[in-house]
């Protein structure tokens, strides 16, 4: 600090420069209606900006893609009652149930979507269309462990001892795996006591418990763990980055989570928001989004699956996926989280 002196004049110039630049607008707004659409940050954000903006512009609308994780989208809308910062949200059924319960989203009018009939009935939600579906399973490193058959294997085969990483109940991926395990080891999807007992009997499984899937991807590539619960997307990305990772559909079935677009209550740019939803389920957009790096499973019937996607899941298999009851999960989630945390902390 001793010799690191800025003169006041320099400092004043610097300050004036910063202030002047801040006065410039962040971006130039489109003249017509602009939809403010929340999406997940990263690839999803870039993909939607690239694939959907031209479609909306062709129809005279603008699109602002606002990156935020699902829980942050919800928190932000909840904190601004009646005055949502987004016109549309993007989330899976777990968060959708919370959004409906708190009266944050509204039912949509399907007649305003030209591409509505291109969706299977399963994807025509009354609270908005399903734009893709994430299929979950088990990721493993073939260099370190044999191919697991399913969840039971991970507990009963000593080859996996100390090499599996789990996450707490705050993660959607984890909750879906645990409800499956509750069916296998207990009496049904909500018999979580059976799962807790299972972990109590296998304390070595609790060593590598972390907070979220993205931490697991880091640990996986550093060789700290060899198995974790994942979506096909996680494994596709690990593979595309040159890592030795494989995806397994558990013998008992793969839990799946659709991703939906929802219209917020009090959305200010309704026309643009509908145009955005329509664009997101259009063939033109999904043909782009099914390619790497997004590799989203297309929900529009007219879009052909790529070999890359088909390697993980085909359209026929969709009906065999397990779709958890999120209303029941949300009811129990707080208690499950606390029990599990206490269990992990020992």
């Amino acid at each position: 600090m001793h010799d690191f002196k800025l003169s006041r004049r320099h400092f004043g110039m610097l300050a004036a420069g910063v202030a002047a630049s801040a006065a410039l607008p962040f971006s130039v707004r489109a003249a017509g209606g602009t939809a403010i659409a929340a999406t997940f940050p990263g690839n999803w954000e870039d993909g939607y900006r690239k694939a959907l903006t031209p479609i909306l512009e062709a129809e005279g609308f603008g699109l602002t893609v606002a990156p935020a994780m699902a829980q942050d989208q919800l928190a932000k809308v909840m904190a601004s009652p009646g005055n949502p910062p987004y016109d549309t949200l993007l989330m899976s059924p777990g968060q959708m149930a919370t959004a409906i319960e708190n009266d944050l989203i509204q039912k949509i009018d399907p007649s305003r979507l030209k591409n509505w009939n291109m969706l299977d009935p399963a994807f025509q939600g009354e609270y908005g269309p399903t734009v893709t579906i994430e299929v979950n399973g088990i990721a493993y490193n073939p260099d370190m462990v044999p191919r697991p058959k399913g969840y039971r294997d991970l507990f009963e085969n000593p080859a996996y001892q100390g090499k599996v990483s789990w996450t707490g109940f705050a993660s959607n991926t984890a909750v879906m795996a645990y409800t499956e395990m509750a069916k296998i080891f207990g009496s049904g999807p909500n018999d979580m006591d059976a799962v807790f007992k299972l972990f109590k009997d296998h304390p070595e499984q609790l060593q590598g418990v972390v907070d979220s899937t993205n931490h697991q991807m880091t640990l996986f590539q550093q060789g700290e763990i060899a198995v974790f619960m994942c979506s096909t997307g996680n494994v596709a990305r690990l593979k595309s980055l040159g890592m030795n990772a494989e995806f397994v559909q558990p013998e008992t079935g793969s839990p799946a989570a659709p991703v939906n677009i929802h219209l917020t209550k009090g959305a200010k740019n309704l026309d643009a928001a509908y145009a955005y939803m329509d664009a997101a389920i259009s063939k033109a957009a999904q043909d782009i989004l099914k390619m790497p790096p997004t590799e989203m499973f297309p929900t529009n019937k007219e879009v052909a699956l790529t070999p890359g996607i088909e390697a993980y899941v085909t359209r026929d298999q969709l009906s065999k996926m397990v779709y958890p009851d999120w209303a029941a999960i949300n009811k129990n989630r707080a208690a499950w989280i606390r029990t599990f945390d206490a269990l992990v902390a020992g």
């Binding site: 928190a75 909840m78 590598g208 880091t218 060789g223 700290e224 707080a334 945390d341 992990v344 902390a345």
Partner: protein, 275 residues
Amino acid sequence: MKASGFPYVVPMLLLSVAFFATPLAVLVGFSFSGPGGATVEHYGRFFGDAFNFRVLVSTARLGLETVVGTTLLGVPIALLYWHSGRTARQVIIFLTLIPMLTSNVVRTFAWIVILGRQGPISETLMALGLTGSPISLMFTEFGLLMAMCQIDLPLIILPLIAILSRTPVQFTEAAQVSGAGPWRILVTVLLPLMLPGLLAGWILVFASTSSSFVTQAVIGGARNVYVPQLIYREVGTLFDWPLASAIAVVLLISTGCLLVAMTMISRHRRLVGHA
């Protein structure tokens, strides 16, 4: 002269009241809100669970341990700075700034490497024959403490350097002339000189460890849970905002008490120093 300082403080006080006290009031309001009017139910829920109380205690403990660790590492660096020439001093400043210039995500990533099975710690222990198989310090409290101490170290060094850089080298001359050895000078002259900086550093370090959560979550894993992680989960996963607010108020009060205690010590010492 004594009263003339107040107008200078007014702008920051007003800012604090308008933009901090009002959100805080909302928070406190939330924490007492119930369907049938005011209630202390949420505080009851928090303290009713022994696990939560343990989390609160380990949060304070991690904070204090990090304060001790950063002090033990920071004071020698500050002394190195004090005894160095102009160029070396600038190098030390630069090296102190480096960790802060590295994003939290990246710093945490580096610590995963260091603490992991194939990391330098594990390899060294194996080479020395202290352990037969690779060990991992990931998800351990000790590993987390090592990382927190490094990450927060600049917060304690910067105030110390700010003081030392303002102090002429001749400051210790009187003591030297009177024949005091270097250790004596350290204890009787340099440490008292650095004390305000140490206290500031302790406050910054403690506040930082008790309110952040990325490093704790990744390095500590789910086995080591701290209060900010509890709050984050209540806010974003369970949407139990009254409980989240109650936890935040408890955190604010408990860390606030510790900080006030630290500040009072500093004021008291100044009193002594001026007498």
